[in-house]
Structures are given as structure tokens and as C-alpha cells.
Amino acid sequence: MKLSRIYIDFISSLKIFFRGRSSFFWVLAFPIILMLIFGAIFSGGNVQYELAVQNKDGSDISASFINAVNSTNAFKVHMVNASENADTYIKSNRISGMLIVPEGFGNDVQRNLALGASRPSTGVQVNPTTTSTTNAIALNATSLNAQASQAQSNNTNVTPAAVILKVDQSSTSAPVISGVLSSIANGFNSQLTGSTQIVGVENQQVLSSQFKYIDFFVPGIIGLTVLTTGVLGTVGTNTQYRNNGILRKLATTPLGKSEWIISKMLYQTVVILISAFLIIIVAKLVYNVTAVPNVVTLLLLFVGTICFTGIGMIIARFVKDEDAANAAASAVTFPMLFLAGTFIPLETMPDYLQTVAKFLPLTYLNYGLRDAMILGDTASALYNMMIVLIAGVIFFVIGSIITDWREGG
């Protein structure tokens, strides 16, 4: 074993990597693009729904209700002149939601307030804009909060002062718009009556709830890089060099199989570190995700590389045709990516899939990376690292032994 041989192969591999546009793209740019795409899909962050608002009342109460609607930032509000015909306006402007504060709304609210506390003052009446009448009946909810239904059952004399929401029921945003408006109405009720809510949801923050999807996803993307670089990279290099004769040439030199494998391991690790570094930088810049790579993270990346390089060597040994080998490598990596909770948290999957995930090394790598980088749980990260290490040593030893350069090893 000579270090100079390992070094020259390592340096040459890096040069070859950086000079190849496609490998450069797939290994470094692709995970980042994937992260940006998934980040955009699941961020949900600042989605605003367009909402036309027509105030036919003109009282202080109606003005403050509209203020409340405005202040949620959930809607981009367009005020519509009180004299406009609502249906005509919706049709000609092709809007999906219109809120109408009817004449007398302020008076209704005050009358309800006078009738007593803990009475619902405001409700939302949903009027579909589509022609489907069944929808219209089903959704003709007048009052949507717990207080309101309680009040209704206690005292049928009280009819809430209703604002009318006209929405296109075929639109996917319809339930969201009516839901948000109902909440606003509830809040408004509480504010007016000054009552404490009888039923309410108190937001207690548990640890995981502090984290957004992207926090979960960034370590997953790094896990993806380790997996694809390890498996696809190893299979690609081995089959390509075997088929174009480079392995045969190398086998006639004193370069040993172990020197070659160690060099390739180091090379893969460096590529993965570069990739992980870029992912962390982009995650910080774009999503303000603070994924802190520590020593345990580096260990996890290294151990993961051992594991997936080993799997790659095993595939490359048995599937010698270049195209077939790449297909086999993809067949191993892609299901593993999904089943190991890279894109979707494992907890949301059916039980039997969670059981499958328990047998995949990527699951533990993903857990470990999350523990180390996001949750700061070193003990758990080390535990997961040990599992990846054990699997890794098994795959790597098998892969190293069966990799054949020359007939009979």
C-alpha cells in the first residue's frame, strides 16, 4: 500500500470530476435544484388569496371587521364599490371569492351584543357562485364556531349578524378562504364580547413543531447526495472503467485494488462534503435554515459514504453492462430515497412502509443528520451513526472482496 498511489488517483479523480459538466451538474447542482423545488412546493409560506370586499354597511363595526380581514395578511383585498352588483362583478372580474358586508350588519351586531354576552355576533354565510344548488345548501353555514353552535342550541332567537362570502366552489382555494374568514369572525366575536372562549386551541409548542418542512428536508437532501454519489458514482466509475478498458490497464500496473478503493472512498467523501456544504449554504441563504454541520455530521457523511460505496461495488460486481448497471443502481437508490423519509417524514407513512424503512441504512443516515444538524441531539445522532457504520462495514467488506480486477481477484 503506497500513499503516493492513493494520492494521485484521488487528485486525478477530483480533476476528472470537476472537468465533467454532467457529473458536476448531477452531483452538485441537482440536489440543490431539488431542494429549491421541494422547498417551494412545501413552504406554503406567503400564499395570499385574492378577495373582493364589498361594504354595504358603512358602520364603524363593519369597517373594523374589514380591518380584521385585512390584518391577517391571508388576503389581497380589493374593495368594491357598494353600488356594484356582486354577481356581475364576480363574473366580469373572474374572481374566486367575494366578501359582502350587508347593509345593517353593524346594527345586527349591536343588537346581538345587547341581547347578552357569549352570544355570537358575527357569522359567515357562504354563497357559492357556481350554479350547483346542492353545494349552496350544503355550505350555507351561518355560524362556524363552537360558541355559535352552542348559542344556537341555547337560544334560537339569536341570529348572528352575517357577512356573505361568495366563492367558486370548484376552486381549491374555496375551503381555505371560507375557513380563514370563519376564524376571523370568531376572533371578532370574542373581541366584541370580551369573553373568554369556552372551547379553544391553545398553541403549545412541542420541539418538532418549531421546525418547518424545509428544516426536515435539508438533511434529507444531504442524505440523498450521500446515497446517489455513493451508489451511482461507484457503479458509474466501475462499469465505465471496466468497459472502456481502463481497469484492465490499471490491473497490469502495481496499483492495488485496496489502494484504488481507498482513493475512490476519499474522493467520494470530498465530493459529498462539497455538495453538503453547498446545500447548507443555499439552505441558509434561501430558507434561513440553520443546519450546523458538526463533527458528528462529518462522521455521518463519511460512514454513509462507506456504506453506499459498498452497495455500489456490489452492484457493479454483478451487473457488468453499463446501462444495466446504472438501471440497477437507480432501482436501488430511488425507492430507498422515498422509503427512508427523505422527502416525506416517515411518521406520515403507513405502518408497513415504516417497517420497511427500518431496514434501510438511509433511514438512519437521514435521522442521524437531522439529529446532528437540526435538533442538536448528539446522542441520538451517534446512535444512528453506529447503525449506518455497522451496515456500512458489512457492505464495504463484501464489496471490496468481490470486486474483481483480474481473474481470480
Binding site: 472537468r19 481502463i246 497490469t252 500496473t253 481473474e407
Partner: protein, 308 residues
């Protein structure tokens, strides 16, 4: 470091079987130091299998072989240090330059040759910083030869070094190979080009279906297996063919030309006399020197007779 071994390569009863197929069928021969040895045979004759056994890439099914006096089944590490190899369909790292590729292979050995000296010996000075993928076929092969020489080996194996090259590039590679003899290297060259073997080799072995059919110096082979010369009677047609084929075995009719192998110095005079006597018309006469190709065709013809 010269070797105490008597022969550069010594093979005894070497065989390689793949299932029922005998790729190499118990061959034996010895190659002295400092010669260019051509292993000549058609594709699939067993050339590459033999070479790959000598390069320690394959294990023989039977027999022994020594390279520089070292046993190919026991002293593989030592052999690898002391041989140079240009594999069949040679390839190296596409995205490394000529110099980087040489540097890579130089690092594999303990005492490599000077890289610049090697580059100039194969005339690649103005391509040192060109990536391998951007070289033409001939230049790629020349880099391959330079890489095979990077450890200053005593024996160099060149497996089909000019396969797929155009005539100009082929001649350039030949020039590089001829220089190796001047440097005192032993060259083991496999080829299926007769002309290549004839131009380069001091010693030729012809392999057919895994068996050595003939081995000698190039001159002796042609002398012994071929004929003195060939007489081509252009425009001789069937008339000349019928008149001559009775007395001169191996006479051929090729379109309108009649080709007669001459085995005796007086054959030419006799033929001319016979044609004159019978007043057989022809356009012109041409004498052709026999070549390895004739030896080869002679051997394959005997093979076919043996089969039928």
C-alpha cells in the same frame, strides 16, 4: 537491471479453457531478450488470452509461463513492476491531459522514467496539455505506448497497437515501436496485420485456433513456408491456367490473372517456354516477392485441407 533469466519469455504447455472452448491449446515457445516478437493470428485465435495470461490478468488452465524468469502464477507483483502493457483497445482517462495521464501511471511505479523525455520520445511535445479525449486515434496509441514505457520495463506487451488506425498513423506508431528495439527492449506484439508483423518483427509466431502453427525468424518463415516468388500472368485466362496448373501445384486463377508459385529457380524459364510453345496469349508478366501473408494463407489452407 538485467535479468539472470535466459529467456525474456518462456511458455510451456500453456492452456486456457472457457468451458469447452480451448482458447489457448497447450502452446510452448521461448522469446530471447531484445527482439520484437510478433504473435500473429486472426481475431479469436487466442492471442489476447495468451498475452493476458503473461500480464497476470488471467490464470492459465494448465502449463507454466515465465516472464523475465518470474513465474506468472507466483511472482505477479514483481512481474507487474517490470513489464509495460498497451492493452487491446487501449484507453485512459478522458479528462486528464497527456502529461497528467503519464504522471498518473508514473506514480504507480517506484522508479519511473522522466515524463518529458517520454513525451518527446513519442513526439507528443505539442500535445502535453491536451486532454486525452481530444487526441486523434494515432496520438492516443502513441500516448498508450509512452504509458507502457513509463516504468522503463524490460518487456513491453503491445496488444493490437495499430488496430483501427489510418495508414499514416499506423506508420507513426510503427516508428515508435522500432525505437524500442534500439533501446534494447523485448517487445511482445500481437497483431492480425501481416504487414505489421513483417515490418516490425524479428521473430514471428503464427497462432491458429489456440495452437502455434509456425514460429521462426521472419525471413526463415517466408523462405520455408512460402515459395521463392510468385509469377503473375496478367490476362492469362483459363488457357494459361489449364496449361500450368497440372505441373505447378497451387496455381490460381484470379479473374483473368493466373498466379503461379515458383519453388525452383528454373521455374520461370520453363513457364515462359511453355506459354510460348502453346502460343498462349497474355498481357504481361509480373514477379511478386512472397510475404508473410503467403505463409499465413499457406498455413490456413493446410488447415482447411486437414478439416475436409
Amino acid at each position: 537491471m538485467k535479468n539472470e533469466a535466459e529467456w525474456a519469455i518462456k511458455i510451456e504447455g500453456l492452456a486456457k479453457e472457457y468451458g469447452n472452448i480451448k482458447a489457448v491449446d497447450h502452446i510452448s515457445f521461448k522469446i530471447p531478450f531484445g527482439v520484437i516478437f510478433a504473435f500473429l493470428g486472426p481475431n479469436g485465435a487466442g492471442k489476447t488470452t495468451t498475452v493476458e495470461i503473461l500480464e497476470c490478468l488471467r490464470k492459465p488452465s494448465a502449463g507454466t509461463a515465465y516472464v523475465l524468469g518470474l513465474d506468472i502464477t507466483k511472482d505477479q507483483n514483481e512481474i507487474r513492476k517490470r513489464i509495460g502493457v498497451l492493452p487491446q483497445e487501449f484507453n485512459t482517462f478522458d479528462r486528464l491531459t497527456v502529461r497528467e495521464n503519464l504522471k498518473y501511471y508514473a506514480t504507480m511505479y517506484d522508479n519511473p522514467r522522466d515524463i518529458d523525455e517520454l513525451i518527446s520520445s513519442v513526439d507528443l511535445m505539442d500535445k502535453v496539455n491536451t486532454m486525452y479525449k481530444n487526441l486523434s486515434g494515432g496520438l492516443k496509441q502513441r500516448l498508450g505506448v509512452a504509458i507502457a514505457l513509463v516504468n522503463d520495463p524490460q518487456v513491453v506487451f503491445l496488444d493490437e497497437p495499430t488496430e483501427g488506425l489510418d495508414p499514416k498513423a499506423r506508420r507513426d506508431v510503427w516508428g515508435v515501436i522500432k525505437k524500442l528495439r534500439d533501446e534494447g527492449k523485448t517487445v511482445f506484439l500481437t497483431t492480425h496485420y501481416m504487414e505489421e508483423a513483417e515490418t516490425l518483427a524479428d521473430v514471428v509466431a503464427i497462432i491458429l485456433d489456440g495452437k502455434i502453427r509456425a514460429m521462426d525468424t521472419t525471413t526463415n518463415l517466408i523462405k520455408n513456408h512460402g515459395c521463392l516468388a510468385k509469377l503473375v500472368i496478367h490476362g492469362g485466362n483459363t488457357g494459361a491456367f489449364e496449361a500450368l496448373s497440372v505441373q505447378w501445384a497451387g496455381t490460381e486463377l484470379n479473374n483473368s490473372d493466373v498466379i503461379v508459385p515458383l519453388r525452383d529457380k528454373r521455374d520461370l524459364a520453363k513457364i515462359v517456354e511453355l506459354l510460348d510453345q502453346r502460343q498462349i496469349a497474355f498481357d504481361e508478366l509480373e514477379m511478386k516477392k512472397p510475404s508473410l501473408e503467403d505463409v499465413f494463407l499457406d498455413l490456413t489452407a493446410t488447415d482447411r485441407e486437414g478439416v475436409s
